[in-house]
């Protein structure tokens, strides 16, 4: 499996470098372009139908909350899985290593949509056949659709981020780990205080890209009846039979979410400056 070169992830996702600076807006041609753009916006909002908007506003707000909840829960859970996945690929015994590698290859080699449906329709339809599951405390959750969405997105994030963490763990200079051991740190302390934070530090720029990619994956859960912002907009489309307006609004919403996410990550990255790279 070719591991994704970090620069590719950057190419795929919007990263902090892509944010325009404030002063860059005030170049003559930019002002012209913005004027044209503003006219376009005015025209669009004038000629298109937006009367449905007030009615759906509360639902949209809720949908955004669901989307963000999906994003954060699956990124965090996925990252927690990614750390061991990356680590065992660097130092683990071979069965674990092989398992992690196979896992990452399979997940990265198949479409997320398919994984999602496999979990929801495939696995989900097996559960009720076992009375033990049906009567267990888990059943109320297994009846819902969001656990499947969370599971699929988490697994996917873990596999992609696991590759990144593998590179990050392997890339921590051996000397720094040796220095830690020379100071009498136990293996766990070395990992907790030096190896892990240093690896995360190295992986942070890539992590930004991966998180944006994860945000871009969340709307897939709408296909299994999770009511995220995409599902709400789908509902608007079906209720109003409008083709463009809801989708344009949706694109705008994701654009804003991405922008905010990237800004937040830039803050985080700036906390530990790196030189050069």
């Amino acid at each position: 499996m070719t591991s994704p070169a970090p620069e590719t992830t950057h190419a795929l996702a919007f990263t902090p470098e892509d944010l325009p600076t404030a002063e860059s807006f005030f170049q003559p041609h930019r002002i012209l372009l913005m004027a044209i753009f503003a006219t376009l916006v005015v025209y669009v909002s004038w000629s298109m139908r937006w009367d449905w908007l007030p009615q759906y506003l509360p639902k949209l707000g809720w949908g955004i909350v669901v989307t963000l909840a999906m994003l954060f829960s699956t990124s965090i859970l996925g990252f927690l899985l990614a750390v061991p996945l990356g680590l065992v690929q660097v130092t683990g015994p071979w069965p674990l290593k092989a398992f992690a590698k196979t896992f990452c290859t399979i997940i990265r080699g198949t479409p997320l949509l398919l994984q999602l449906w496999l979990l929801y329709y495939g696995l989900g339809s097996l559960f009720p056949q076992f009375p033990a599951i049906r009567s267990s405390f888990l059943w109320p959750y297994l009846r819902e659709s969001w656990p499947y969405g969370v599971a699929a997105l988490t697994i996917s994030f873990a596999a992609y981020e696991g590759e990144v963490m593998r590179g990050a763990f392997a890339g921590v200079p051996a000397g720094e780990l040796e220095a830690a051991r020379a100071f009498g740190m136990s293996r766990w302390t070395v990992f907790r205080r030096i190896w892990l934070p240093r690896a995360i530090h190295r992986a942070l720029p890539t992590l930004t890209g991966e998180t944006v990619l994860q945000l871009k994956s969340t709307p897939l859960v709408a296909t299994i009846t999770v009511l995220d912002v995409y599902a709400i907009i789908s509902k608007v489309r079906q209720d109003t039979f409008l083709t463009y307006e809801p989708l344009l609004l949706l694109a705008l919403i994701y654009l804003c979410l991405t922008g905010i996410l990237v800004l937040a990550f830039r803050k985080l990255e700036n906390r530990i400056p790196t030189r050069g790279a």
């Binding site: 041609h29 372009l33 080699g109 949509l113 097996l126 296909t223 463009y244 694109a251």
Partner: protein, 242 residues
């Protein structure tokens, strides 16, 4: 379960009806066609976009920046819907304005168009990075020998950037193959949709989704073999892993 039938009914995958194997395979071929078409279109857009971003005027640069930013910040699923409905509609409106008859855009063409536009933005970024990685002295030397700008691009810049671009472009290919699955949501008969149809009709969900997974995985693994061959060829001129 009251049903004593075998847990997995492999005959459902047989190549001739009543097995669904041939349907899955034709879905796979559709997927591959779209992936190849979309990837190629994306590459064309990417070459244009990268050169435009690097050497174009300020307005072109800004427009391209908008293009890549929007595509990279908005989910593929949303883009696919927008492009699928709006893109082809706009083309026909333009044709109407130009007094031409409305073109009949086939599903395949629409799919290629949609994937191509998305891939184009990614390729633009990958290629731009790769071109920037070519040492400027190489291009200057070409100019010093009297090469015209077109010659410089075709003889020096494009081939010299390949080793830097290939890892990124390989990833884009793998992404293109998987993004075709998203066309399922607009009803295009690629592998994922026919899988769902087969699963829905036969109720053998697990079996068919796993089968499709194996097909996608095989596509990825086969691609990887070719990618590593290409990569090795392209890196010939580079002394050490850059």
């Amino acid at each position: 379960m009251a049903d004593p039938a075998p847990f997995i009914n492999w005959s459902l995958l047989a190549l001739s009806p009543p097995g669904w194997g041939s349907v899955l395979l034709s879905g796979l071929i559709n997927s591959i066609q779209i992936a190849i078409g979309g990837y190629s279109l994306g590459l064309l857009l990417g070459v244009g976009g990268a050169f435009g971003k690097l050497y174009g005027g300020p307005i072109l640069r800004d427009l391209l920046e908008c293009y890549t930013t929007i595509v990279r910040a908005v989910p593929e699923l949303v883009l696919i819907l927008l492009l699928y409905y709006a893109g082809t509609d706009l083309i026909n409106q333009f044709m109407g304005l130009a007094g031409l008859p409305a073109v009949d855009i086939s599903g395949l063409a629409a799919g290629i168009f949609v994937i191509g536009v998305v891939q184009g933005a990614y390729s633009t970024e990958v290629l731009r990075g790769a071109i920037k990685a070519v040492p400027s002295g190489q291009i200057e030397a070409a100019r010093a020998f009297g090469m015209s700008p077109v010659k410089v691009m075709t003889r020096i810049t494009l081939p010299a950037m390949l080793p830097y671009a290939i890892p990124g472009l390989s990833n884009l290919w793998l992404i293109a193959t998987k993004d075709t699955a998203l066309l399922a949501v607009v009803g295009f008969s690629e592998l994922t949709l026919v899988t769902r149809q087969a699963a829905g009709t036969t109720k053998a969900y697990l079996l068919f989704f796993c089968a499709a997974g194996v097909l996608y995985l095989a596509l990825t693994l086969v691609s990887n073999v070719f990618i590593s061959i290409i990569e090795r060829r392209a890196r010939r001129g580079l002394a050490e892993a850059a």
